[in-house]
Subunit: 230 residues, 2 copies
Amino acid sequence: MHAYEKIRAEMLRRIASQDWPAGLTLPHEEQLAEEFGVARGTVRRAMADLVEQGLIERKRRAGTKVASRSAHSSTLTIPIVRKEITASGAQYGYKLLTSEIGGAELDPTGHFARAQLLKIASLHLADGQPYQLEERLISLEAVPHAADHDFSAISPNEWLIEQVPYSAVRTVLRAEAADEVQALHLKIARHSPVFVIDRQTRLDTMPVTLVKMSHRAASFSITTTTNSAG
Amino acid sequence: MHAYEKIRAEMLRRIASQDWPAGLTLPHEEQLAEEFGVARGTVRRAMADLVEQGLIERKRRAGTKVASRSAHSSTLTIPIVRKEITASGAQYGYKLLTSEIGGAELDPTGHFARAQLLKIASLHLADGQPYQLEERLISLEAVPHAADHDFSAISPNEWLIEQVPYSAVRTVLRAEAADEVQALHLKIARHSPVFVIDRQTRLDTMPVTLVKMSHRAASFSITTTTNSAG
DNA sequence: AAGTGGTCTAGACCACCGC
DNA sequence: CGGTGGTCTAGACCACTTG
């Protein structure tokens, strides 16, 4: 175990035991470095992890304070749908539903500013059963060669993730009552619960793609785990 | 803009432009340090961010490779429900529904091993309207003084988060059709979609609490953002 | 204005692991 | 075994921000 890990563990212990209660201002880096018998950089390395976990807050001049916990923060990982399905042991299937090219009228959200758009609907299947309905808009400004690509064999999900780097993603999760399109393709009754992931991807300031992924409710869950520092 | 930020941006550019395609082994730290005219530590600082974003993968002896992107990874933050409501400008309200003490029979999941349990149901309101139904089990082994606490004024959500440090959290998100309890308290029709967050919290290996938070579908969303390096 | 955290350096040594 | 990334040091200087 490295020095910074020991220091991090000890600081974690003090916070957990309320030895360092929420709101307390900690000793300076130099004081802690002296206490633990290490260089200042090693203390900084330990504290960096605690900052990332949201356990402490640091500000120049004001010092380092134990954060009052006001939220759980976790890492949420959404894998490529094909890998998600095969990882569960099921057979992966894919079907292109519709594909059309048009202008801003395809984009009800106004996320894209008057760009040429490619609109694709497709279905991902697990063991032949509908698993995820993918409704996607792709900016042909950001990804010009998408117009020439044949999405009947490879899903846009997979193709885009390999082709286009993104710099910022906005993800919204919600529960919805199935509309007609969702009910039809997911083979569920109208108004059944569906789990929806909306994602907007940008490259710098340019919108790249906007996707709505609908899952049959019972079949979908996301698991997150905080990275424990202990 | 600091040196490490410039370097990170330049490396990001090379990856984005496929100048450094996925799978490529990058030059060593020392070579990059020389190229950019900085110390090795500064290059490391830049690369740390890229590792965290999942854009590169590093292994001793094997070197640094551009990662082939296979998943989106985001930070998911679930705030205290009261803060979530007041942040939206609505008036926060809270109501204790039921509270009882019992044994393992209260725990259908088997998460708690034969501990004394406190079972609490409560409701969080936004502008007087039901917002979240909170159904919670608390281990009295982990939090003995919870039995003596009056939860009619302060929600267990808020009280626990201040009282008990946790070390690991498991979160599952899903869409459900409302059952009778959910329909009654959230004032929605049975089988309407509800957005459910299940959370299990442990302190080291000891289970602390298990909570099911149900939201009216239309009213709930979680937003995640990747920390952009650009 | 001063004290805090943040960046950066130049160097040493360590530890993992693929060749 | 050797080369890579990982840790650590002792120091300098910078920049933010609050008292």
